[in-house]
């Protein structure tokens, strides 16, 4: 039986309190010794005199969820993890707000830290998601990820 891919997408910004709540939920798991978290935050970059006020994310959802499922399985196969959670925003996320939340846990610190870093790299490189940088006033440009 194939496991249904989890939906990682959330409409709008990921609230900081949601991160706190996610951490709190893991207090009942007494095998966990370390958590590693990565958060992507929208920068108000200035480009040609215009300031980014938000990034609007779109995706090819079916493909993204399949790919994320593949990444998840590969990372669980490679590292002795207890848990792994990934959330990515869709739609507009204002500057200063969180657009990506990757959260890994393991008995000892190394697997959680390495798995989190690897997951972030793979998400940036392999998930069909696009960011549109919306300028203050008017105009936009398509975001380009740094390698």
């Amino acid at each position: 039986m194939e496991r249904k891919p989890k939906n990682i997408f959330r409409e709008g910004a990921i609230p900081a309190a949601f991160v706190g709540d996610s951490i709190a939920k893991h207090a009942t798991n007494h095998n966990i010794g370390g958590h590693s978290i990565f958060l992507g935050q929208v920068r108000a970059d200035e480009i040609g005199g215009k300031k980014v006020q938000a990034i609007e994310y779109t995706t090819y959802e079916e493909m993204a969820l399949e790919k994320m499922h593949e990444i998840r399985e590969a990372i669980f196969a490679k590292y002795p993890l207890t848990c792994m959670h990934v959330y990515h925003s869709l739609g507009a996320v204002p500057a200063g707000e969180i657009c990506l939340f990757v959260f890994t846990s393991s008995a000892h610190r190394k697997p959680a830290i390495d798995a989190c870093a690897e997951c972030v790299e793979r998400i940036k490189a392999e998930l069909p998601v696009w960011g549109k940088e919306i300028f203050e006033g008017e105009g936009y440009q398509w975001k380009v990820n740094t390698p």
């Binding site: 079916e62 990515h88 657009c99």
Partner: protein
């Protein structure tokens, strides 16, 4: 067959999807797309067939789901 466009490609072609007669393979599809939407000749794009990226020329059937994607910029 239906071709989906994402990100700046949807901007460029002015629509999120496009209907066209079934083509034999992805090379033929590229040729047809670039003849129809000249802007595509200037930009980097990738093709996914049934939600998998294809790197080499790939045979297509009329039921395949096909997507044109610019470089990813999530996170």
């Amino acid at each position: 067959m239906e071709i989906l466009f994402f990100g700046q490609l949807a901007d460029m072609v002015g629509k999120p999807s496009w209907q066209t007669d079934t083509v034999q393979d992805t090379d033929a599809l590229k040729a047809r797309l670039e003849a129809t939407f000249k802007g595509l000749q200037q930009v980097k794009y990738m093709i996914a067939v049934n939600k998998k990226m294809v790197q080499t020329n790939t045979t297509l059937s009329c039921t395949d789901s096909i997507a044109l994607m610019p470089p990813f910029s999530g996170g």
